[in-house]
Assembly symmetry: C2
Homo-oligomer: 259 residues x 2
């Protein structure tokens, strides 16, 4: 069993140290309540709407930002997934780091960039799997638009992921409302896995966010959810045994015919 | 623009002529209200729960059952999609026929069979596309469990299908409720197409059905839905222009990176 904490977070565009301080506070709060993992949104360290500032704030996975995340992880004995802007030579990726104390970080780079804003700022990665082990579970990472493509979730599930965490920056509006209200639960159900979808709170310099962070279980039910766009720290316990009947009755991964 | 009519139908197990008579009445009613297409459930001609009777009732696509469907189609000037048991030499397929007057029928054979009941009765087909043209639209066909796999819907959408019709036999229960309440709308949204999901009414000799037939639009909204398991003839107008903003803002088929 794993307890996860999802930080629906109000990030400050361009202020990495303030955003890291916010994550540090959440890590303390989450660890106090027994969480094994804290999840922060897409580009939580720079702010999603930081625009042109993002290129200059981008750092390698061996840079000071990830080292600071590791220190927060170690001090509070909690693993952390958080979005950051990753520099690799001339490329900037929209990435998420999984850190667990001193261990080498695992980095996932977003493969499906949404719209002109992201495409102007980032290089898309070839779709691929980032899967780590935590508390006896296989955890996969996607970012925002990636999870809207069933192919990305399926690929991770077929590779053994039992929970997929998704830092996101979902804007307010009809499409955002639909994605939060329907799609996350279907991604969980159609793969019989857990999906934790963690959004920004309120708004930043450029975007108004939907909030509506949520954690869906294999049977499609929600085991944690925000119904607004305020800041929240949501908790959920990840226990596959509770959903054994659903996993048995909906054997999608076994019944899928690959073509 | 195309008007479709979905017949949430109480089939009688093993009584093909009674079930064809029910479809004939619905074809008259649907045509009177201006529908171009009538959709009946999975195995509507034999009844879904007809069990061992299905093998002896199964006919080829050139048999009397499909000829009768064609006659109903011609007499009422309405195309029809209906599920039937199809015999091809020693094989019995869980199939759906698209008939439009005297034209040769188009036949789709279910590729993903659900559970021991179906696997004992039918041969699964290799996943493939059955797409027909009607009223200027490309219409694809899937059957029941097929639509629960996003791969099958995506394959049709990438091949150009703009509406997918799904005769089904969804049982009552928590999984059925979830599929009806969430998944059909997500299949429409994630491909920006229409999905018409047409279930049996009430129960038959073996199964209790969820009803809950529904037609979802590209933006994920429902344009027709039953909220119970009684018999209904549901109507919806299929007009892609109304959903142009959603199709523009959610360009999943264009943005998908094939791997």
């Amino acid at each position: 069993m794993m307890r996860i904490a999802a930080l629906q977070m109000q990030a400050i565009c361009g202020n990495v140290s303030a955003n890291l301080a916010r994550i540090e506070q959440a890590a303390k709060d989450a660890a106090e309540d027994g969480a094994d993992l804290l999840i922060a949104p897409e580009l939580a360290l720079t702010g999603y709407g930081a625009g042109d500032k993002i290129a200059s704030l981008a750092e390698g996975a061996d840079g000071g930002q990830i080292k600071r995340l590791q220190a927060i992880s170690k001090a509070n004995a909690i693993a952390i997934v958080a979005g950051f802007a990753e520099r690799d030579r001339e490329h900037v990726y929209n990435s998420a780091a999984f850190v667990c104390g001193d261990a080498a970080p695992a980095i996932y780079r977003k493969s499906h960039l949404y719209g002109d804003y992201e495409r102007a700022l980032f290089t898309p990665e070839v779709p691929g799997n980032c899967i780590v082990q935590i508390a006896g579970l296989k955890l996969g990472i996607l970012i925002c638009y990636d999870v809207e493509f069933p192919e990305n979730v399926r690929r991770l599930a077929l590779a053994g992921a039992q929970i997929i965490v998704v830092p996101t920056a979902l804007p307010a509006g009809p499409s955002g409302d639909f994605i939060a209200a329907y799609m996350i639960q279907v991604r969980a159900f159609e793969n019989q896995i857990f999906v934790a979808y963690v959004n920004h709170a309120r708004k930043d310099e450029r975007f108004v966010f939907a909030g509506l962070s949520r954690i869906a279980a294999p049977d499609g039910s929600l085991i944690a959810a925000s119904d607004d766009s305020k800041e929240h720290l949501l908790f959920a316990d990840i226990d596959r045994h509770i959903f054994a009947a659903s996993i048995d009755n909906n054997p999608y991964l076994k019944d899928l015919k690959r073509t």
